[in-house]
């Protein structure tokens, strides 16, 4: 076939002899034919699979439909940020699972960003030891499967740590044991409202100051200090709010009892293992991205900034970072997404995330298709949302050529 076509001109209209052959050889016609074939094949395969599935479900007596989501779930969930008990419907269990997934994702993303950035800068340090140490970290942790790391941390946390009755107490108020980490939390009281209001006021004042400073700079070129006054406004606002609210200071400290630790906030070893494992793994990738992003800014940019008389801080803030960020942000968002998707491995150590809840529901009800569809849809929506955000950011940050 290929050898006959080689003779024909590549673009329509084909001018050779008989009209019949030239019609067949025209690119437009073949394009249409390919597409029709693809659509028909996809429909046929899809129809075949769907038909088999329905037939199988009929044979095995599996019911279909999403109605079961309203029935009581009948299983408890180890940890939840939302009120939940086993008599509540399946959809509520899924919401709890999603909230647990997001909790790991948000905490993991914040920690990964901090840790990964430090490591990435450390890899560029002039200090040989620091540089080597950061490189060793990156090479060590990104080359071992994340599932293995999660399992390992979970084992260490639940097997090597002492029982709750003999919990480690490294810092006052913090207890670490097989049952997780307990830590002090402030007790909520009405006075904290005023504190929050004060913080809000501080933020507003700082924002207003920054705006005025930029305005002044644009008009006269005068450079007002921004960072320290802004921090001062935040602190002052919070402090005033706290004073006005009557200085609420009650803190719920965890206390060691006969057999267990009571009071305070607590996180389970499952949560710690998942968050820690994902952070340690993903930080290695973020470090590489940060390093290559900083290295991507040509040295001439720094030299130009120096020759303009910018200070080191100004150079970093006005010249280096904006250019490095443009390179760093898209792949880092990708890593955030990876972290969120990898949090699904929590199912291996029994942290009740979305996948874990779907799996339990699937085993209880046998509704494989529905459970897996819901699970996939949720992750897909999260991914698409992130992608949309990244695209918006990229358009905003793209170099505007005039």
């Amino acid at each position: 076939m290929a050898s006959t076509e080689q003779q024909s001109p590549a673009t329509p209209p084909a001018s050779t002899g008989g009209t019949k052959t030239s019609r067949w050889r025209s690119r437009a016609f073949r394009g249409l034919a390919y597409q029709v074939i693809l659509v028909v094949v996809v429909l046929l395969v899809g129809g075949y699979l769907a038909g088999n599935t329905l037939e199988n479900m009929r044979v095995r007596g599996i019911q279909s439909g999403f109605g079961f989501f309203l029935q009581p779930a009948g299983f408890g969930i180890g940890e939840s940020m939302i009120e939940y008990d086993s008599s509540e419907p399946y959809w509520k269990a899924f919401v709890v699972g999603l909230s647990n997934t997001l909790r790991v994702a948000v905490v993991g993303i914040v920690l990964t960003t901090l840790f990964g950035t430090l490591l990435g800068i450390g890899r560029l340090s002039r200090n040989f030891l620091l540089r080597t140490l950061c490189t060793a970290y990156v090479e060590l942790f990104r080359n071992v499967p994340v599932l293995l790391q999660l399992l390992m941390w979970y084992f260490v946390l639940t097997d090597w740590l002492p029982d709750m009755s003999a919990a480690l107490n490294p810092v006052t108020g913090f207890f670490l044991s097989k049952n997780g980490l307990s830590f002090p939390i402030p007790v909520w009281s009405a006075g904290h409202f005023a504190t929050l209001l004060g913080l809000g006021g501080g933020i507003a004042a700082a924002w207003w100051h920054a705006r005025r400073a930029r305005h002044a700079f644009e008009i006269s070129g005068a450079q007002w200090p921004v960072l320290w006054p802004a921090i001062g406004m935040l602190v002052a606002g919070t402090l005033i709010g706290w004073l006005v609210g009557g200085m609420p200071g009650a803190i719920d400290m965890p206390e060691r009892g006969e057999l267990n630790i009571s009071g305070g906030g607590a996180v389970t070893p499952e949560f710690i293992a998942v968050t820690m494992g994902l952070t340690i793994y993903t930080a290695a990738f973020v470090a590489e991205i940060v390093r290559s992003g900083i290295q991507a800014v040509p040295r001439g940019q720094s030299e130009a900034a120096n020759s303009l008389g910018l200070s080191r801080a100004q150079n970093l803030r006005l010249v280096l970072l904006p250019q490095a960020m443009r390179v760093i942000i898209p792949p880092v968002t990708n890593q955030y997404l990876n972290l969120t998707k990898n949090s699904s491995l929590a199912v291996a150590i029994g942290y009740p995330d979305l996948v874990s809840i779907s799996n339990t529901t699937l085993n209880q009800t046998g509704r494989a298709v529905e459970c897996i569809l819901v699970m996939m849809t949720v992750y897909l929506v999260l991914s698409l949302l992130t992608a949309a955000l990244t695209n918006w950011y990229n358009t905003r940050m793209a170099i505007k050529e005039r």
Binding site: G31, Q35, N52, V347
Partner: protein, 369 residues
């Protein structure tokens, strides 16, 4: 006038620039450049002095190497018990494969690693390499399954350990490769239906975690088949991994396709090549060469990702560690050493692949000049 004065007075001699060669100067530049640098050096040294002796004592000096359960338990985790590896390595490396027959996966694995090493050499890249891989996989399957010439039959459910990890990652990626080329080409096609289908596929797969694909493979694929037929669990998982890897690989290849200058397409057109001839003879050879490092990255990811098949109860390297230790109350407490052992195996694989990827990138860049 001031300028004239200034002209007349001599500028004081500046100190000579510091030496930049020699070990002393290296130390000054890399460890003690200024007070911050010195502080960092001291901090790192302090941490190392604090930790290194402990790590060495724990892992080497005080560790028990013999498969002696009593001695290991007596350590109470104060030192490593490598005895667990000495005791269980056959189970960890080969899973549930019948003990007396484990030379078969060993031979298969050695052949596979050998061909993998050969495939890394650019001068072996010719049309015989894919043929060699097809032959290898056939031999591997025949050897593992047995059931002829005195070799006992071993069903796929009993395959496990490192050979399974290697099989899933190489065969998974090998099968994903042709698929991903089609998807990458389709994504750049002028035909709207083809393009939409390919974009939809890639974005769908990249948006969901591998574990959900594996769940689909183990719970939904049986429903897809005609009633009464249940495909082999290994085959289902293999299909899942292939479909997943293909989407990522397609994106890597698309990167290469985008980097091909437009003139190449036009040149192919002006020579009268058909679409497929142009792709095969002009576009793909250049594009694939360009994305070899990305393909290596996909390979590393797939190699690590195969550990997830543990969750759908296949006994790959990670799964067979659980198999070896979970049921044995005597050795179960030494999981950590087990994790370190298989972690080392994964690490050696991934690290050597990433080093190879860097080497081939430099080499190809040199070739291109």
């Amino acid at each position: 006038m001031a300028a004239a004065n200034a002209m007349r007075s001599l500028i004081a001699a500046r100190p000579a620039p510091p030496r930049t060669a020699g070990s002393l100067s290296w130390l000054r530049r890399n460890l003690f450049a200024d007070w911050k640098n010195t502080l960092a050096t001291l901090l790192v040294v302090a941490v190392l002095v604090d930790w290194l002796p402990f790590v060495i004592e724990w892992g080497i000096v005080d560790a028990v190497l013999r498969p002696d359960n009593a001695a290991c338990r007596a350590l109470e985790h104060a030192a490593a018990c490598w005895g667990v590896i000495a005791e269980k390595y056959r189970l960890i490396l080969f899973g549930r494969f019948p003990f007396a027959e484990q030379w078969r996966p060993l031979v298969g694995m050695v052949m596979m690693v050998g061909l993998l090493a050969v495939s890394c050499l650019p001068r072996m890249w010719n049309r015989w390499l894919p043929v060699a891989w097809v032959v290898l996989f056939t031999c591997f399957f025949v050897l593992m399954r047995g059931g002829f010439a005195g070799l006992s039959f071993v069903e796929t459910a009993q395959w496990g350990g490192l050979p399974l990890t290697l099989l899933l990652s190489t065969l998974g990626l090998g099968a994903a490769f042709p698929l991903s080329i089609l998807i990458a080409l389709g994504r750049r096609s002028h035909l709207p239906a083809v393009r939409a289908f390919c974009i939809g596929y890639v974005e769908l797969i990249r948006g969901i975690p591998l574990i959900s694909v594996l769940f689909m493979a183990s719970f939904m694929f049986p429903l897809f088949m005609p009633p009464g037929k249940t495909p082999d669990v290994l085959l289902r998982v293999f299909v899942g991994i292939t479909l997943f890897a293909a989407a990522y690989l397609a994106e890597a290849i698309r990167g290469g396709l985008q980097a091909i200058p437009k003139g190449q397409f036009e040149a192919a057109d002006s020579l009268g090549l058909t679409y497929w001839q142009a792709q095969r003879k002009v576009v793909l050879p250049q594009a694939l060469r360009m994305v070899i490092p990305s393909i290596m990255n996909s390979f590393i990811s797939t190699f690590k990702d195969t550990s997830l098949v543990t969750i759908v109860s296949l006994y790959d390297l990670t799964g067979s560690l659980g198999l070896a230790l979970n049921g044995d109350a005597n050795w179960r407490q030494f999981y950590f050493e087990g994790y370190l052992f298989i972690g080392l195996i994964y690490w050696i694989g991934c690290f050597s692949m990433s080093r190879y990827s860097q080497w081939i990138e430099r080499r190809l860049a040199a070739d291109a000049v």
